[in-house]
Symmetry: C2
Subunit: 272 residues, 2 copies
């Protein structure tokens, strides 16, 4: 691990070790640089990250656990894709968990919580204004996790976090949509307001509503796969979008990664 990690494709390249590679790859998936169905061969990843097979393998195991990657014995790993049915099921659970967690928050919330959420909200707003995709995602997740954390049950928070990771590929496109981001920021603000009041059900419902847009958007996207994708030039070279989304056995193709300086795709509304 003290070994040379020659110039990674992403300039900052913070994070180190296995967690870092996971984060980087999740970004690739989330930003659409790695389309669903794309193969992730160990050798290619070894070259890309300058890591040993051991590390890469562990990374893939972890990503499989998180549900963003599918691994088949003796065949390899692919970016997982979800059918409309699966998406509904995942969101059904996620919505349920969210609602329950929100209902568990003692409602005139204590000032400390509101203060930290305010801070996170500010940070979130900043990243949105700066159009910092990675930052947007992280700040958004940080806000939600802090909110969930107020439910007082770390296991519930963990499971909820797991499901947030599961829906990660579905939230991809929404990071760059201006209207969706504005709505998202507004809703976060409303949540903080509701935390000052006493209406648990309103809070719970808002939190659930908050995630509808991305779900609907993703479902619409897979309904007609030829949706215009902005920076699709390099991802999964030569395959049509429908082929990429196809869930059949993956053909053996080399791993290909899009230009790191990806142009922000302009897509429909919705966020979470």
């Amino acid at each position: 691990m003290t070994a040379d990690r020659q110039a990674g494709p992403v300039p900052p390249l913070r994070h180190e070790g296995i967690g870092g590679v996971v984060a980087l790859l999740e970004e690739d998936i989330m930003f659409g640089r790695l389309a669903p169905g794309a193969r992730l061969t160990e050798d290619a990843l070894m070259v890309r990250f300058g890591a040993s097979r051991h590390f890469i393998r562990q990374t893939l195991v972890e990503m499989e656990r998180r549900g963003v990657v599918q691994r088949e014995r003796n065949v390899g790993a692919t970016v997982r894709s979800y059918s409309a049915e699966e998406v509904r099921q995942i969101y059904e659970v996620r919505e349920m968990l969210t609602r329950q967690a929100m209902l568990m928050i003692a409602l005139p919330a204590e000032p400390g919580l509101i203060a930290s959420l305010d801070a996170l909200q500010d940070a979130y707003r900043d990243t949105v204004e700066k159009r910092d995709l990675r930052g947007i995602h992280e700040a958004n997740d940080a806000f939600h996790i802090a909110l969930f954390d107020a439910c007082g049950n770390p296991y519930l928070v963990r499971t909820l976090t797991d499901y947030m990771g599961l829906t990660l590929p579905m939230r991809a496109k929404n990071l760059a949509d201006a209207d969706g981001l504005r709505l998202s920021v507004d809703q976060h603000g409303t949540m903080i307001e509701l935390l000052r009041g006493r209406d648990r059900w309103a809070l719970a419902q808002l939190a659930v509503d908050h995630m509808q847009a991305s779900k609907a958007d993703y479902l619409a996207r897979i309904a007609n796969p030829e949706s215009r994708r902005a920076g699709s030039s390099l991802s999964s070279a030569g395959r049509t979008a429908s082929a990429v989304l196809a869930r059949g056995k993956p053909t053996r193709e080399p791993l290909r990664v899009a230009d790191p300086a990806m142009s922000a795709p302009e897509t429909s509304s919705g966020f979470d």
Copy 2:
């Protein structure tokens, strides 16, 4: 893997590969042969199962994922123990998930479901009569998973299964309690009856009630740690029960496993 796996300590030794080792170790934990806090060194496990370091390591990673084992970097793995607070939190989520899953079952349940549950119930009763501890556990879980499966959402079932695994060490002692088992069988029967009716809430509540006994029992057990433990002779040699349950840094002690032919501990009621 084609390598010789010389006589394992458990006669049947079905299962092969990593999943098998996990199952065996989970049994050890569940039956109390491996007390909470016990160290699981790779070398010891390699000897015990005649497997390579690679396998054992993967096994420990998997068991950590399942929550039955705790791993600390450069230190090793120990059987995880749960505080009263954690137990309540885990059960809180598990109860919530259970209730929701039960409520999702369309209620005059279809005959096919009832038929398969009847079959599983018969099998369960058989294992109970035969006092087949391992079988009891497996048959019980099979019944519950089949029941949960009727909710129609595989992701919910999976999460629920994860939590069943998490509460596995808490359900340990209850496998051998005659009264508890009788109650358990009865409740399963009542569930099947309720599936024929239309009262979703009664079914959900029964399913939640069904797991209260083991929770209460475990909480009582950790409240006064000097509870009489039947086959404690070899597990964690020389340490007091309270020391075993202590959650501080584990002292380095050799792995010790109790006699495979464990005498069934007679303990209080409760089951799930």
